[in-house]
């Protein structure tokens, strides 16, 4: 168990040791979320490191990391828990088979008794038969209780986050799930516990630190947002981006990192459909290293533009602006 950070700067240092370089705002947001026990709601352009922040936070604080990717139609059986029905059936069949094998002797006596009852007399054998039936009934009760044992429960992300403490729970792209799921999530987050009818209440030892991300495809309900700290994650400035590139890609030279970061920043100013995020600059620098180019030149940039721009319109616009202008120091 790591020690808890004592200030935002302390958390920033811990995050930096995992390779995630957070700016003041994000470090403060993370620190407050830890201190106040509030979920953190992150928004920002795609690729600015919202998801990476959550996993870095888990690593920095020595917590488990659980990720729940949201999508339309996500429901409790996918997010919380589900019973393993095939295993339950299998368990039932196995118990049946075992009972049949163990009770084969008693079974023949019982069968004889049943035949006797149906036929003429055979009182003693008939009594043995009823005993066998009673034994089977008791067995059925224990068997049924055994069917809803913890080992037949499949823990989905939310339950996993509650069962293990401490945990950082990432609820990724919460805007993609529908309203019903939001309401349900709110309930689980508020209590940090769930009640499973067959098993009882499962409560988290310490409530998980929840990080929610959204791409704003629809407005998330205010009731959920109100419980959260809100932070808009900005693109990093050139210096920070250089530092990120260098820490994530050890092979990258200072020169190449500066060139990539500067070019990416200029692209963000070009009013593109999808401005490149840190994720794209990392891909770009990675592509250049793979190709063995020590420098970002107009030629190598043209060859690797696909790593950083994902729309034809954007590629056209950058080419029209001139690749050379991106690279001017």
């Amino acid at each position: 168990m790591h020690e808890q950070p004592t200030s935002p700067e302390d958390l920033a240092a811990l995050l930096a040791s995992t390779g995630y370089l957070a700016d003041d705002g994000l470090a403060t947001a993370g620190y407050l979320a830890l201190r106040l026990g509030r979920p953190l709601f992150l928004e920002g352009d795609a690729g600015v490191g919202k998801t990476a922040f959550a996993s870095a936070l888990a690593q920095a604080t020595g917590a488990h990391f659980v990720r729940l990717q949201c999508y339309e139609g996500l429901d409790a059986t996918q997010a919380l828990y589900d019973w393993d029905f095939p295993r339950q059936i299998l368990h039932l069949r196995a118990a049946e088979a075992a009972a049949r094998a163990a009770g084969s002797a008693a079974g023949t006596a019982g069968a004889a008794g049943a035949a006797g009852a149906a036929g003429t007399a055979g009182t003693a054998a008939g009594a043995a038969g009823t005993d066998g039936a009673a034994g089977a009934r008791i067995d059925a009760d224990t068997l049924e209780a055994g069917l809803y044992d913890r080992r037949f429960l499949i823990a989905r992300p939310l339950l996993r986050a509650l069962e293990r403490s401490p945990t950082v729970l990432l609820v990724d792209e919460v805007d993609r799930a529908d309203d019903e799921f939001e309401a349900f999530l709110l309930e689980v987050l508020a209590d940090a516990a769930v009640t499973i009818p067959e098993l009882g209440r499962i409560a988290a030892e310490t409530p998980p630190l929840t990080v929610l991300t959204s791409n704003r495809t629809r407005e998330v309900h205010d009731a959920l947002k109100r419980r959260c700290l809100y932070h808009w994650v900005e693109h990093p400035d050139v210096d920070r981006e250089v530092a990120i590139l260098r820490s994530r890609l050890p092979e990258v030279t200072d020169r190449l990192a500066t060139q990539v970061a500067t070019a990416a920043k200029r692209m963000r100013e070009l009013d593109l459909i999808k401005p490149p995020g840190v994720a794209e600059s990392l891909d770009w620098a990675g592509a250049l290293i793979t190709l063995g180019s020590p420098d970002l030149t107009a030629g190598t940039a043209a060859a690797t533009l696909g790593a950083v721009l994902k729309y034809r319109e954007d590629t056209d616009r950058v080419r029209a602006a001139g690749l050379a202008t991106l690279l001017e120091p």
Binding site: T28, E43, D82, F85, I89, L147, N215, L229, Y230
Partner: protein, 364 residues
Amino acid sequence: MATAALIGFARRLRADGVNADAHRVQAMLAAVDALGVDQVYWAGRLTLCAEPDDLPIYDAAFAEYFGGKRRPKNLPLAPALPRVSAPFLAGPPPEPGGTGPDEEPSVLGLSASPDEVLRQRDVAALTAGERDEVRRLVTMLAPAAALRRSRRRRPGPRGEIDPRGTVRLMLRHGGEPTALRRRDRLRRPRRLVLLLDVSGSMTAYADALLRFGHAAVRQRPAQTEVFTLGTRLTRITRGLRHRDPDAALRAASDTIPDWHGGTRLADSLRAFLDRWGQRGTARGAVVVIFSDGWERGDPALLAAQLDRLRRLAHRVVWVNPHRGKAGYAPLAGGMAAALPYCDEFVAGHSLDALERLVEVIARA
């Protein structure tokens, strides 16, 4: 730092339109406590703001409030609004910009069925009294997009086999297969996005369109988004959620900075696609653009944005009030350029035309 100063700051933010409610203020106080008084900026920003639009407001208010600058006068409070609009028969106050109030009673009094006549009339050519009646009728429209199949499933009498339900039933019968359970996809309403042109050339229709937008938001609050296009893009969905049409319109109008200005259709459409549409608001949605297509800029730019929109949206409907006028042909630069990308091109100049639009939206 004095708690009172922080609460005063939150009140200031509320007056500026940030939804800093009591719950959030409490969170701010806890955050200031945790971070120390020299970190009030982040403590407040992380707890009081809830969307990107809040951030510039916050920054400005923070600089002013804690930077020593004071506002010239006290916080302006919005005047209290009547909860319900005045009933028409009680005699509505005359429209300031309308024609003389003296002629309206005769118009309504003489016609046998004023509704029927009004339905066909161009909204731009109405007297103040008629306009009030049309407003009332627009409020009664119920625009809503058709249903689509959702990814969410529910147990039902038909559809695919539901393994979970079937096995649960088996367990109930001691592991013996009995009957097959089935489940089916739910049906969900499609998102409806209304883009209203509020530039000078659309002034006569703006009020009716905003009311149409209000009717749509009231019908399906979670599935409807309304934006205005002009020299810039403004999202007015939040304001239109008011129950009372007049209060909703007032709230929405207050957020529109570019009433009756020029038109930069391509730019504001692009702003919509960049900030909302591409991220998902327009995806699979029925998008309705209310505009006369009067574009000052290069029509090719408008065409490029509409091409983007068409690739994202389920249906693009263009509503042009001039369409209903005799002898109109979509030859104006912007309209001609936009037309190839629209699935439907309809008129929206009268109540009757708006009713037909409701049908088009429901069919889309």
